[in-house]
Amino acid sequence: METVNIQINGMPLSVPKGSTILEAARIGGIEIPTLCYLKDINEIGACRICMVEVKGARSLVTACVYPVNEGMEIFTNTERVRHSRKTTLELILSTHDKSCLSCVRSGTCELQQLCKEFGVDDPNAFAGETIHYDFDDSAAHMVRDNNKCILCRRCVAACDAQGISVIGANARGFDTHISSAFDKDLANVSCISCGQCIVNCPTGAIVEKDDTDKVLEAINDPDKFVIVNTAPSIRATLGEAFGMHIGTNVEGKMVAALRRLGFDKVFDTDFAADLTIMEEAHEFLDRVQNGGVLPMITSCSPGWIKYCEHYYPELIPHLSTCKSPQQMFGATMKTYYAQKLGMDPKDMVVVGVMPCTAKKFETKRPDQAASGYPDVDIAITTRELARMIESAGIFFKHLPDEEFDVPFGESTGAATIFGATGGVMEAALRTAVETLTGETLPSVDFTEVRGMENIKEAAYDVAGTTVKVAVASGTKNAKVLLDKIKDGTADYQFIEIMGCPGGCINGGGQPIQHAVVRNFVDLKARRAEALYRSDADNAKRKSHENAAIKQLYAEFLGEPGSHKAHEILHTSYVARKKYE
């Protein structure tokens, strides 16, 4: 690799050619603060917090985007640099709603942390005119409070990176603010509720709609039987909210915490993931054998579903009619389980703990009420669960590992990997191939569809037929496949699409990681690794081996794809406009 020789704070250093000052400094063990910078997607040099001195340069230099060159002498910690950074922070604070005490991001706010690091002692140093913005809480999943926005535009970049671009800068100069075109409410534009803007926001300007009060209310209601279920990826991320290493599997502690929070039953969405595979694999084989619409595309990700409805309504027939695992879970609880318990489903409250903000939207979709009551009552994110645990005074890290309740705590490794891109495809293949061939797979690892690449393709020989599959995560990548379907150049039979880049482990409801982590740590891969490890350690790795699933079909549903299964576990979609 070609290198250049530079000096940082007098220390000689050899770094790869083309590195930015920010990257070079990291190699030298120096962290330069950033606010607006998101590697690859928001390299706009707007916030000016990363300014450093470069010998010979007329003004300060933007470390996040400025490439190093031979002989460059960089100073990251001079009086001038420190003064500039402090002034930048003071100016940002002069327009910022500083109600940190009541802010959900207090403690995880990047602005707050920088103010502390740079010794901002007077938050009102540049007090002056401010503009009051009304909240936008029109969407089902989030609230935008521009009074806390620092205009780093990371949300805009995240939305662009999803290929959505429903938010951007409006007005200019001091009046600049982020919103949709013509300041339309978010609910009236083609936002897919993925929440990538939320996890990329450095402050409390964009937050998920908090539904924890509703959960607590249900728990405290003696007449309600409250069932919680946790999505596959939650066990791989929840620990981060309590300072644990990225990629720590906290399934046991999570179950223990949920029990201590007072849920009547602590079940696993993984059970429903296995159920999804039963239905989806059956649907796929049916489409292949009976000339159905192909390629079939997975339907687990509600962000992706909304994307398809807004942007590619003509491809709706390609969508699997299977409800998502969360909704299948709820539907099963309020029909089969309620019947088993002899309970009226109206007394049941199903709570999903999800990596996803679009799940909040999904619970409100029509045609998702198999029992006559909504399949799922409340969907909360990983972050909301973490807050509930925190406020209940539970020492998360010190909890013993506990097991999910029976029977819907049972699941296979195939279900666990749903949380990472390619996981649903791999799980479906494990079941579909065995169903089709009637033989046991020598290896259940379909490694070609694993990994964090944007788009993955593979072809498998199944009982003499070649099955071509594709996997995409992030709607911008999905678009590539969808355009291929539209122009007739897609020769796949089965496609998995997840709305968020990397799949659910990087969902919009996951614990906040500061940009510095997002920029320099492969967050997605490390979280996914925890799921694949869990799969590998599981004795049962194929959905059709799940005993609880077998029992459910035997006692209640009959066959996968049966009339009853369709009534309870399948749904339909609608074409949506881009602007209302």
């Binding site: 706009i44 002034t87 930048t88 940002i92 540049f126 007005a171």
Partner: protein
Amino acid sequence: MYRSHVLVCGGTGCTSSNSLAIIDALESEIAKKGLQEEVKVVRTGCFGLCALGPIMIVYPEGSFYSQVKVEDVPEIVEEHLLKGRLVKRLLYDETVTMEDVKSLQETDFYKKQHRVALRNCGVIDPENIEEYIAFDGYMALAKCLKELTPAEVIQIVKDSGLRGRGGGGFPTGLKWSFTAANEADQKYVVCNADEGDPGAFMDRSVLEGDPHCIVEAMTICGYATGATEGYVYVRAEYPIAVKRLKIAIKQAREYGLLGKNIFDSGFDFDLHVRLGAGAFVCGEETALMTSIEGNRGEPRPRPPYPAVKGLFRKPTTENNVETFANIPQIILKGADWFASMGTEKSKGTKVFALGGKIKNTGLVEIPMGTTLREIIEEIGGGIPNGKKFKAAQTGGPSGGCIPASLMDTPIDYDNLTAIGCMMGSGGLIVMDEDNCMVDIAKFFLNFTVDESCGKCTPCRVGTKRLLEMLDKITAGKATMEDLDKLEDLCNYIKANSLCGLGQTAPNPVLATLKFFREEYVAHIQDKKCPAGVCKALMTYSIEADKCRGCTACARKCPAGAIEGKVKEVHTINTDKCIKCGVCLETCKFGAVVKK
């Protein structure tokens, strides 16, 4: 063949004072007299002396009629065109002496001017390519394509010493060589016609008066740098310029001077026009290109520079209109000819838009090195109403001011930079003793605050806070500590902003602080505005010995702040006074004073 040509200015200034109706009237009057075979009416671009518009010149005599009205047309046709007698009352008074009528070139306004960029403005019909060709148009392009290699063209531009006229002053030849050095499947030439400095309109005049020279120059630039496509980014507020540019491009295409295989040389080049919506920041080169690409006009960090990744991320050369306007002449007359004008490091001429407290407002083109005194006192005709010169503002909202003590500084890039000022695109606003320098700084900063794109923190928030500090000073509420804070914030914004707009936004404040610090101190410590501009610091009072008790002021006062009986001395209640100044205007005895 016509025996007489009547040139009427069709630039924006004269058009807005009805020159098109004058042209219509001329044509019908000429037809009425049966002179249509003998006299030709030409609608030209700007003559420069906008203060005296609408302007009309009759050749071969060269008679310069100013402030012509439609009603004057029959007399001009009857007397001058038919009977050969000058209509003296309409002649520009500078051209009329006791014994003779002088040519325009001998007048103070024109004699020190040297028109290179503006050479065809006010001379040819900009909508007729044949007239441009008749004035050596497209000869330079032919020379380049037929006789010179691209490297030779760049060398000529380098040798000429031409520097960017948009304000930065970057050597043009060097800029071209950077783009030429980068291999790419597509390169672009961009003409920055997003003229935005308050009061500057030289680019508009060139596009209105001589659009073909921009087409020709951009094509030459394309040949020199290896670009085959060009964009002219022009403000939508310049409809006449846009129209004429589009006509020029269409005509050039028809004549084979744009398009494929120009002059059978194998070189292809074509031009597109893109309209800007008027954001000042789009004059910044990266913002301009972002806007052409169809996005919100906001600057992007450099590097990468446009020569590496410019428009659509391809190598791009971007020059200002006036810079391009010099190119054909440089190619035709040679680098030495151009370099013979100007100062050691600033060659050629510069167009300035004179405005403010000066008699001859308008466009002037002068050799670099001309002093401010020559521009103001000779070319500009001095300050009206016998007022004293205080300072000249150059470089618009990015620039600074030149105080009276530096009036003899030869104007070029480096001298202006040395005194904390800048050339800018050439707006030159003259201020007299009635201008408050804090107020001037506020005016320009107000502009920048409005025009900030809002992308980077220092510009978006910093300039706003700076303006609030100035407001505090002019309201008499600031302390000397605030002055330190003001300077500190200025330096912070300069060093930390993303683009030129923010980096130069504090200049009007810093320059006025440098030369007129005492005015700031007077506002802060004495709570006085020495020029009597800042309302909050003024008090109106009535001098008892001059007041006759006529009650006129009291009757006019909209706030009921003046008390007094008939034939008795009146007084102003300062608590009620809104400082509108009506009393001062009303008093016939000079009894009302403003302090």
